[in-house]
């Protein structure tokens, strides 16, 4: 049985990978991934064969990796963060649906909600929702409804893909929806380039977040009613009476 690994890299830095993920990449002969993430690991794994494609070429990349695995090469598809959270694991499984000669192993990684959360402090100390603002494959109505529902029940909200060149005002629109249910001074935070060169973070009110310029490498956190700023960190208490 040929094995295909789908590996979550975490933010990208070797030390933020799991010990298991690092071990699997060490032993693989072929590594497939989005160019930005391959660049992050290429130096360390220079002796491998790489399958590198750009954005929106996920399907082609996964198909080529599946072929390599079928040819008998130890192959890994890498994703930033976790391999399952908006990652390639689902797509790989759909593509391998009819193939009996291949076994897919999903290797979890630290997704941006967690790695970004650690940079900010502890924003995810209570129930939370992870919502992507990308409407490439999801209707904006659905995104809007999810934002509304998550805000209505006062969950912490973590936003992925808050902005891109074509979607400059999406974060603003999202904050406006959330602000119908949460106070304007709800504690929010952002992290850019988590665990990478140029990492930058900040804590803002929801009203300030509305006008914040995020990019596609930014993760945004919107607190719940109890979320507070402690020593310049964003903390959502679990509920201990201290």
């Amino acid at each position: 049985m040929n094995k295909l690994y789908v590996v979550g890299l975490g933010p990208g830095d070797h030390k933020k990978m799991t010990v298991e993920a690092a071990g699997i990449l060490d032993k693989c002969e072929v590594i497939a991934g989005y160019s930005v993430y391959i660049d992050l690991i290429k130096e360390r794994y220079g002796n491998k064969e790489f399958i590198v494609t750009g954005m929106r070429q996920e399907e082609e990349r996964c198909k080529r990796a599946i072929e390599k695995a079928e040819e008998g090469y130890k192959t890994a598809v890498v994703c930033s963060g976790d391999s399952g959270v908006y990652g390639m694991a689902g797509l790989i499984m759909e593509l391998c649906q009819e193939r009996e000669n291949i076994e897919v192993e999903v290797v979890a990684g630290v997704t941006a909600a967690l790695s970004g959360g650690a940079v900010l402090g502890a924003p995810l100390g209570h129930d939370f929702s992870v919502i992507s603002l990308s409407d490439l494959m999801t209707t904006w109505e659905k995104i809007e409804n999810r934002l509304k529902c998550a805000a209505m029940c006062d969950m912490v909200i973590c936003l992925y893909n808050p902005s891109s060149r074509k979607r400059k005002d999406y974060l603003k629109k999202a904050c406006e929806i959330v602000m119908e249910y949460k106070d304007w001074d709800t504690v929010c935070g952002y992290v850019k380039n988590i665990g990478r060169k140029g990492e930058e973070c900040g804590i803002l009110s929801l009203n300030e977040m509305k006008d914040f310029e995020a990019d596609m490498f930014t993760t945004v956190f919107i607190g719940n009613k109890e979320t507070k700023k402690i020593k310049n960190q964003m903390v959502t208490p679990r509920g201990y009476k201290i």
Copy 2:
């Protein structure tokens, strides 16, 4: 400045930790944690001083760890999964609020939503909510409302603490609430003892999940409308047209 690390272990097995977390535990002199999690790592770190307390003694445990760090010992508080997601990071920051001589570093880990997701396949391929059914520090009304909202907008829902001796029927109650909005045959999954001895997983319909006997080491996943079963794995597609 004395440093106190709050480290997410992941499911418990050394290889599921990040490289960074493993390195920090290696160099620490004192490790504080809940007895069940200390047991998972004790063998490997036998030469350390351990601060071990039981459930519901989190505050005492954290205070003792803070004291050790203040005395100059390299100290880590460990949590299963991530250190921020229902973890000790927030409590530690609250307790260190007035202390100027201590710096807290949060080290992320793979939380059960991700590690359990990898065991099941790729249930978190699209927007999701993480909700704990424990009402020790949260009212049941709030939990109920969050379940309702997350179900209403068809997010994938990952349930932590679905059951305990005193809360035997909570998972049933939760599934009944969710079933007001999601179909009875929505694809669901569970994983018990993720990454540990006795790991066990299964895929059920929402209607079957209602009567499933979970325990406190079980993580439950409730899919969205698109979630499907592929080769006995639970997959929530991101939306690629394949």
